[in-house]
């Protein structure tokens, strides 16, 4: 059966259900809507392919979605026109309804606007690791209303865009290298210059530590139990866990070997000897 026959059959069945003039109108309207949706789909695919590799993924997704929604809107307007409904009256009514809806959809609209800001400002991209409040995870999608994160313990978190705009967002993987700050405490009896030499050697021997930028060693402050040292090590961002685990073990082993004592808070309690008079 070819398309012409199919349409003819459809027209016959429609004409048996509805008056003759209306069936033709419905057929024309359906064809027009189909054509509009098909055209917008083609535009969406072509634009999507053209943008791939030139703009970030989330912006490409947004443009594709806008084209699709524009197609739907155009199709709805066409349907109204075909049915002879006056759009100006409808739009007037929509204006009044819009005020009511605006109050109801205040949060959603705020999220949409925040989403647009997020997309234009680009504080993070897909696959970045970000921290929002006490949530840390990999960005899975950036949508008009919210972003979705996959946390490291494999939870799926949806954060409204409005929250993102209002709070501090830390992009952990924005730059290719990072610094791991390890705080150490050494005994007051230890020679600090010797400790510095040992720490430099530990950093040099750990394969996850970058030689450049050089490790940062800062004698930070005098604490009650000992001297606090900041040991900052630069690493390639994907090696965080390897470095974190290995450097702690390296420091422990080497300090033990070199006789460097890591103090811990302790309290010496001196018991006064009881005198004879108090005992009797």
């Amino acid at each position: 059966m070819d398309i012409q026959e199919m349409f003819a059959e459809l027209r016959t069945s429609l004409s048996s259900l509805v008056p003759a003039g209306l069936s033709g109108k419905i057929m024309g309207m359906a064809a027009a809507v189909l054509l509009i949706l098909l055209s917008f789909k083609i535009v969406q695919v072509v634009v999507g392919r053209a943008l791939k590799g030139h703009v970030p993924d989330q912006r490409g997704n947004l443009i594709r979605k806008l084209i699709r929604y524009a197609g739907f809107t155009f199709a709805v307007i066409t349907i109204f026109k075909q049915l002879g409904i006056d759009l100006s009256a409808l739009l007037g009514a929509a204006g009044i309804a819009g005020i009511a809806l605006g109050f109801a959809a205040q949060t959603s609209v705020s999220n949409v606007i925040s989403g647009l800001f997020l997309i234009s400002e680009k504080p993070f991209q897909l696959e970045d690791v970000i921290q929002v409040g006490d949530i840390t995870g990999i960005v899975q999608s950036i949508d008009l209303l919210s972003i979705k994160l996959q946390t490291f313990d494999n939870r799926y978190v949806r954060i409204p865009n409005e929250t993102i705009i209002k709070t501090n967002v830390v992009n952990i993987t924005r730059f290719p290298i990072r610094r791991l700050d390890v705080k150490l405490m050494v005994d007051y009896a230890v020679d600090l210059e010797f400790v510095m030499t040992v720490l430099e050697d530990i950093a040099r021997k750990n394969i996850w530590v970058l030689d450049n930028p050089e490790p940062l060693i800062v004698m930070d402050k005098f604490e009650s139990s000992g001297v606090e040292i900041l040991f900052g090590l630069w690493f390639e961002k994907s090696n965080f866990l390897q470095l974190k685990n290995s450097i702690m073990m390296d420091v422990m082993k080497r300090f033990r070997l070199e006789g460097i004592n890591i103090p811990f808070p302790q309290m010496d309690v001196h018991l006064a000897k009881p005198t004879r008079s108090s005992g009797s």
Binding site: F175, P176, R204, N206, I207, V209, L210, P213
Partner: protein, 264 residues
């Protein structure tokens, strides 16, 4: 050492690479491999193989299954660039050039003749370093050796562990670098990154050499890095560089990052 050979069934073979070892055993289509990497600073002047040996003790063993009869241990330059520091600041004045010899530790892999690679590793433990600023750049292998200009007619120090000694360190890839200053200002060379995308490896009498690497400091303030291919100097080509589309990239990267490194 790098040639294809037919291993006997169920017999372990060993390659010595200046303190590092590689092992291989064939049993039908099953291949067992083991690698012992060492710190690059602990290089020993010994290399050779394949030699029949005892099974490697307490070593992690890798397996590969494929059909093949002849196999070889082959070197290849790391995909990460090698970064080497100058021993002292080197000032190259306009119109002058300086030559350097660098011994690069290769990656090694077992290759079936006309077939796939069975396994690959870096036989020397090297730390990583960053070439660029904190917001962008390249991850590099940090060479623990220092860069010295090669002076004509001057004998190098007689140090048995001088890695530039091609006869002693046959398992390292010996690379010659020429830095030319075609600009009108002096260039201070503090460190040099060697991008390996374009570099072929040749073998001559068991010694591994490369193309001549040329770094040009241009009049417009940019830097251009290229290689001058020279097949006859190296004899047989052991590894051919993957050149597709990499030439321009190499130059661009060179311009972006070498400029900051050399202090231009």
């Amino acid at each position: 050492m790098w040639k294809y050979f037919e291993p006997e069934e169920a017999l372990w073979y060993q390659w010595r690479l200046h303190g590092s070892h590689a092992y291989l055993r064939k049993n039908g289509d099953e291949w067992r491999m083991s690698f012992f990497p060492v710190e690059f600073q602990e290089l020993r002047p010994e290399s050779g193989g394949p030699l029949p040996c005892d099974p490697p003790e307490s070593a992690p063993i890798e397996f590969a299954v494929t059909h093949g009869t002849r196999v070889a241990l082959r070197p290849r330059l790391s995909e990460l660039p090698y970064l080497i520091m100058a021993r002292n600041d080197i000032r190259i004045l306009p119109g002058a050039d300086a030559r350097f010899n660098v011994a690069l530790p290769p990656m090694i892999r077992f290759e079936i003749e006309h077939g796939p690679s069975l396994g690959e590793t870096m036989p020397f433990i090297l730390s990583r370093t960053w070439f660029g600023d904190k917001t962008g750049g390249s991850l590099c292998l940090s060479m623990p050796t220092a860069l010295d200009p090669r002076c004509r007619g001057e004998k190098e120090e007689e140090n048995p562990l001088n890695t530039w000694d091609t006869e002693t360190f046959r398992s390292l890839v010996h690379c010659e670098i020429n830095v030319r200053n075609e600009s009108k200002v002096a260039v201070n060379l503090e460190r040099l990154a060697i991008f390996t995308d374009l570099i072929n490896i040749y073998e001559r009498d068991g010694i591994l050499t490369t193309d001549l690497v040329v770094v040009n400091s241009l009049a417009d303030g940019g830097l251009k890095m290229s290689v001058e291919e020279n097949r006859q100097r190296g004899g047989g080509t052991l590894v051919t560089a993957s050149r597709v589309g990499s030439s321009e990239l190499l130059v661009r990267r060179g311009v972006n990052f070498l400029r900051t490194i050399t202090g231009l």
